[in-house]
């Protein structure tokens, strides 16, 4: 098992270089001049442009720019944005916020989703099940920005339970409302996945045998139904950690959160190679670690899944 984890971690290295190279190339190929974009309508003097070009190696060929960048990473320097701020700083301020938001959303969707899905699956065809299906369908079909504005209006403006936007430093209580919005669609999917998987397992032979052994209903549900139903849900959660961590542009926009999504969006518009590439590289790593975690959880949940020693 250790060997397996080690091998998976080693795989991160080539993937990291492959991903950064590709992203760097794509940003390089974007049309438009980053310096011109930076100054907008009032172009600076030719001397300033040249100085900036040289500072950011924009006059060099692509491969040289990339090597400068990789060299920087290896010495701990992620470069600077065109406005002079170190990319490292930007990462350090944006990722913790997104991380908190993502974890909050994940906790909400996992706990509530599995619970609702489990009850719906056990009571298939009953009122609770039918309502859960309708609500989840609604959540899936309503676009995030609509739900975001509705939540903001109802819970923050009308009821005053939360602050309308997230304050500086993004304290946890301010993030609850955006986390709910962010989690809503995944919550709906988890309800449906859990429900389907539970209702399959309820009629499984081994569940009947477990009951025939004389076990109580709660124990049968907990030990023999829930655990067996978690595999598809865990898969989904794993993928979702990835997508939550790369940020949510719409939700961040509505609640004015300075997270990863918005930062990357701005950087792409400005053509800031180092910023985009650093952020995406971190995202790729987060994604891969989340996948590794899911694969390890599989082995814990289902002994039939064996890894080569």
């Amino acid at each position: 098992m250790l060997w397996y984890v080690g091998r998976r971690l080693l795989q991160l290295i080539p993937v990291f270089f492959g991903a950064t190279f590709l992203i760097y190339f794509m940003v390089f190929s974007l049309p438009g001049d980053p310096i011109a974009a930076l100054f907008g309508d009032r172009p600076p003097s030719q001397a300033v442009i040249l100085a900036l070009r040289e500072q950011y190696h924009l006059d060099e060929p692509f491969i040289v720019q990339y090597l400068y960048y990789v060299g920087g990473i290896l010495t701990g320097d992620l470069g600077t944005t065109y406005s002079g701020r170190p990319v490292g700083d930007l990462l350090a301020s944006a990722f913790p916020i997104t991380f908190r938001l993502a974890m909050l959303a994940l906790a909400f969707e996992a706990v509530a989703g599995i619970l609702v899905g489990l009850i719906a699956g056990l009571r298939k065809g009953k009122l609770f099940d039918a309502s859960a299906l309708v609500v989840s369908l609604l959540l899936i079909s309503v676009p995030t920005f609509v739900l975001g504005f509705v939540f903001q209006y109802v819970f923050a403006i009308q009821l005053g339970w939360f602050r309308t936007t997230v304050g500086p430093g993004a304290p946890l209580q301010d993030l609850i409302l955006p986390a709910l919005v962010l989690a809503s669609v995944s919550f709906a999917y988890i309800v449906r996945l859990t429900r389907g998987s539970v209702s399959d397992n309820v009629s499984a032979d081994f569940v009947r045998t477990a009951t025939a052994k004389g076990l109580s209903r709660p124990r049968v549900v907990r030990v023999h139904i829930l655990r067996n139903s978690m595999i598809p849900v865990i898969t989904f959660l794993g993928v979702d950690i990835g997508s939550l961590m790369v940020g949510a542009i719409v939700t961040e926009g509505i609640f004015n959160i300075n997270g990863v999504g918005g930062t990357v969006y701005k950087a792409v518009q400005l053509g800031e190679g180092p910023t985009v590439v650093s952020f995406v590289a971190v995202m790729v790593i987060v994604y891969m670690l989340a996948n590794l975690l899911v694969d390890l959880l599989y082995a814990v949940l289902d002994p039939r899944i064996r890894y080569a020693k």
Partner: protein
């Protein structure tokens, strides 16, 4: 009790002084479906005394399993008891609360389910699943529970139980898993054990060891057993008392031997004549008068006379071989983690030949290589070495057009009538498909051929527009046979083609196959684990064990005078084979 005596011959035959352990009175069970309420059990009465064994026999859908599940309130889905009583030690189980029922399950009434593959939770280890039952029923706690777990498993016949507690179900063979389930069922020494087809998913030899073991255990503990089975031979052999169920009703009840010797209800009579293990004894008896003294029910069923006649005809003529297999071997490379591989000889230097117009059976346990041998003959797998000649041509080198024409002449029918038909294809399209693939005829003539085939397999022409899910297992297997016949083949390879079917349906399909053989001059290669079926249909038998043919002879020679220890073991394992009817 007054109305009971007539139906429950079971009690009257035993010690009348001992109060019955289980008494079912006028039980009615039904399911709510979209088309309304469907009764499954209609007024069943039965009585089981202390320490007795009672078997409920019937085909699938007869309500036998539903009756058993009703006892411990494990009816699937919408099923519920609508009337009647289930008296266990005098208490009516249909009225107890869920909490009380939980105490009955496991502790007082043990349950051994049908399919060992699906009845253990794949994500928990064996030790956990046994220990859980022991703890839940208050037999032992803590460290004692672990000790008791090992004891239970050892009693159930897992000698190395201590070392295997941490292993998971997928690391156990089917027979081992069934032992675990029996261990769980008996772990708290219940007064009654419900065994619902406990061995129907297992090989015939494994079945025998497990049932022998179960019998010893229940006798030692004085446990009563309610045995559910579709196999009359098995029921007669294992239980003193029989209850025959048909369409939700008890049609006959009494001592097993009495019922077998003198079946009163027409359904029981049909069942007795169709049970392959018993029927095969009858064929033998008519052929060899010296053995008839044991059997006085030998004359039932006109089909047997017909079969015997045909068998005599076959013996008279000698025919050229259509398939000759010489020294065929098939070796698989098994991956063992990393780059290591192990060789597995699935088929090891096998030679046999099949005369045209006859039936050759290959028998053996699962893993004996019999199915691989069939795949080699079908050229679905490539031989590793050896030669197979079909009608004089070596099939190893066939390709392109020649291969296609070989496929046209050699057709398969597989075991699972549910899995081998495409659920999205109508019956007509399924049967027509080989004709389309081989470019036979035009649309109109193909349709005519499909209708002709449906008639040959005795299905109504209206079946053409139906879909597999609307048909029964027997009907589906008829369609599989029709599809195999579509191209007018010379040889049909039947891989366990009747193993998944009920005895009566099995009999019908075997009849159909023999009729088709005489009508169309077909040659069959019949792969099966069931020697009883072999007796009915085969001219020659090859017995396979671990990839080799250990015995090959005519059917009569193999049955009357088995040369190999292994063959004798297989023969003895036929349920009911050792049963003497006259006693």
């Amino acid at each position: 009790m007054t109305g009971q005596t007539t139906v429950s011959a079971a009690t009257s035959a035993t010690d009348a002084a001992s109060a019955p352990l289980l008494e079912i009175r006028d039980l009615e069970v039904g399911f709510t479906t979209q088309r309304g309420f469907v009764p499954a059990v209609r007024g069943v009465n039965l009585t089981l005394g202390q320490g007795e064994t009672l078997a409920i026999v019937g085909e699938s859908g007869s309500g036998k399993s539903t009756t058993a599940q009703a006892i411990i309130d494990l009816l699937p889905g919408t099923g519920r008891v609508t009337a009647g009583q289930i008296l266990f030690e005098g208490k009516d189980l249909t009225t107890v609360s869920a909490r009380q029922m939980q105490d009955v399950r496991g502790r007082l009434i043990g349950y051994v389910p049908q399919d060992p593959m699906s009845n253990l939770n794949p994500v928990w280890n064996i030790g956990f699943q046994v220990e859980e039952a022991i703890k839940a029923n208050g037999v032992a706690q803590g460290r004692d529970a672990r000790k008791r777990t090992i004891e239970v498993l050892k009693e159930a016949g897992l000698a190395d139980a201590g070392d295997r507690l941490k292993q998971y179900p997928h690391q156990f063979s089917g027979g081992m898993r069934q032992r675990v389930l029996i261990g769980i069922g008996l772990s708290s020494r219940p007064k009654l054990l419900i065994a619902d087809e406990p061995t129907s998913a297992l090989d015939v030899t494994v079945q025998r060891t497990i049932l022998d073991h179960l019998e010893t255990l229940t006798r030692d503990y004085g446990t009563s057993v309610l045995f559910i089975t579709h196999d009359l031979g098995l029921a007669v052999e294992r239980a003193e008392h029989l209850v025959v169920m048909y369409k939700g009703k008890v049609v006959e009840a009494g001592r097993s031997t009495d019922i077998l010797a003198n079946p009163l209800h027409p359904y029981t009579q049909k069942l007795v004549s169709a049970a392959p293990s018993l029927a095969s004894r009858r064929i033998q008896s008519e052929r060899r008068p010296e053995t008839t003294e044991h059997m006085d029910i030998a004359s039932i069923g006109a089909r047997d006379a017909h079969l015997i006649e045909r068998a005599d005809e076959r013996e008279a003529v000698t025919t050229p071989d259509i398939i000759t297999v010489e020294n065929a071997s098939k070796v698989y490379q098994i991956r063992q983690g990393g780059f290591k591989t192990k060789e597995l000889k699935a088929v090891d230097d096998v030679s046999f030949s099949i005369p045209r117009g006859t039936t050759t059976a290959i028998v053996g346990e699962s893993g004996s290589g019999k199915s691989t041998a069939a795949k080699l003959v079908l050229k679905l797998e490539e031989m590793t070495s050896g030669s197979i000649r079909f009608d004089g041509t070596e099939i190893g080198s066939l390709s392109g057009k020649d291969l296609l024409s070989f496929r046209r002449r050699v057709q398969p029918v597989f075991q699972d009538p549910y899995g081998s038909l495409d659920p999205l294809y109508s019956v007509g399209r399924t049967i027509e498909e080989p004709l389309v693939t081989h470019g036979v005829g035009d649309k109109a003539s193909r349709r005519a051929r499909v209708l002709e085939l449906l008639e040959q397999v005795a299905l109504p022409a209206s079946t053409i527009n139906r879909y597999p899910n609307e048909l029964s297992g027997g009907q589906r297997q008829r369609i599989a046979v029709a599809r195999a016949l579509a191209l007018k083949p010379d040889v049909i390879v039947l891989d366990e083609a009747v193993s998944a079917l009920d005895v009566l349906v099995q009999g019908q399909i075997l009849d159909l196959l023999t009729d088709l053989q005489s009508e169309l001059g077909l040659t069959y290669l019949f792969i099966t684990h069931d020697l009883a079926v072999v007796r009915l249909i085969a001219d020659n038998v090859c017995v396979m064990q671990k990839g080799r043919i250990v015995e090959a002879a005519t059917t009569d020679e193999v049955f009357d005078n088995p040369q190999q220890e292994y063959t004798r073991k297989l023969l003895e394992a036929i349920p009911g084979a050792n049963f003497h009817f006259g006693r």
